[in-house]
Symmetry: C2
Subunit: 202 residues, 2 copies
Amino acid sequence: MSSPQRSSRRSERSRRAILDAARELVVELGYAKVSIEAIATRAGVGKQTIYRWWPSKGAVVFEAVRALSENTDGELALPDTGDLEADLKLVLRATAAEFADPAFDALIRGLTTEVAHDPELAAAYAEHTARLEEAKRQRLRSGQRAGQLSPDADLDVALELLYAPLFHRWLLRTGPLTADYADTLVEAVLRAFPPPASVTAS
Amino acid sequence: MSSPQRSSRRSERSRRAILDAARELVVELGYAKVSIEAIATRAGVGKQTIYRWWPSKGAVVFEAVRALSENTDGELALPDTGDLEADLKLVLRATAAEFADPAFDALIRGLTTEVAHDPELAAAYAEHTARLEEAKRQRLRSGQRAGQLSPDADLDVALELLYAPLFHRWLLRTGPLTADYADTLVEAVLRAFPPPASVTAS
């Protein structure tokens, strides 16, 4: 007798196997050459299992990318240890490492091309991006409440100053994407939006 | 009798007419539909005049773009009134306005596509970009000497923080490219790399 719980665990295992297979295959073959059939074979499931959860190859690959930025509960949140500088460095170092990783590069370039042709996928991607941006703003707000960032800081500008230089180096290959570079950006942005002196002194 | 001086003035007039015609036509028709013949007709010169100075359509359009960032002596230099913040705001506002201008947008997108297919043009473009970057670093160095920017500032990082957010907004259309936004970026970057306190107080 298979309990609902065991069946749900099996589903979760299949889901992860499919997403891992999709990621691996895009990296090995390039997005264009990956088929739903190849993903199913690699994941050890039937094609129907994939089509039950996702309408297209683009949707599976998008989910594989999205899963990279979600925690185990499927929530989007940046680490919050109470130390804004340390948390931002952790996140920005991870972003720099992702951008520098050929596997991630292949995933994102494949997905970007697909998004250009698939309005439904484009909408899902835009929604995901908006959720990610909001998670980042939440972490900055928490830093403002803790007196580690100016309460007047324009959070969108602060996020652009953190992320746009990384994106620029990645897209145009104008410089190395290192942990040092991530740290330099975080430190510069925190200096640009300092908390009120009275708060830092306390 | 035509003096050498008058002939050189006439050459300069033809050169400007050709560059203006190239710019206008790319904006009106899109890069792909512009021909050397159409540029010659619009500029009121013979095709041979164009081919005497430039080997290809891409080279003419590149020159038209380059001319936008050179002063009347053909030199690349940022304004230097002695006030780094004011000068950077002037330059970054102009950059934001350029990016926001559909005419510039058409030129740059056309040129970018051409650069991808034409190694000679790509080399010229890379050289121009390097000269432009050096002119920007020069202005920041002059600001360091004037005690308006930290002598320890990494000038490449400072430039990325100034320009990458503008580029990002332009490329991905994620926000308005306004004078206010340019000012916000300049102010943030100057706060991120403040001069030593003793110098500001003097």
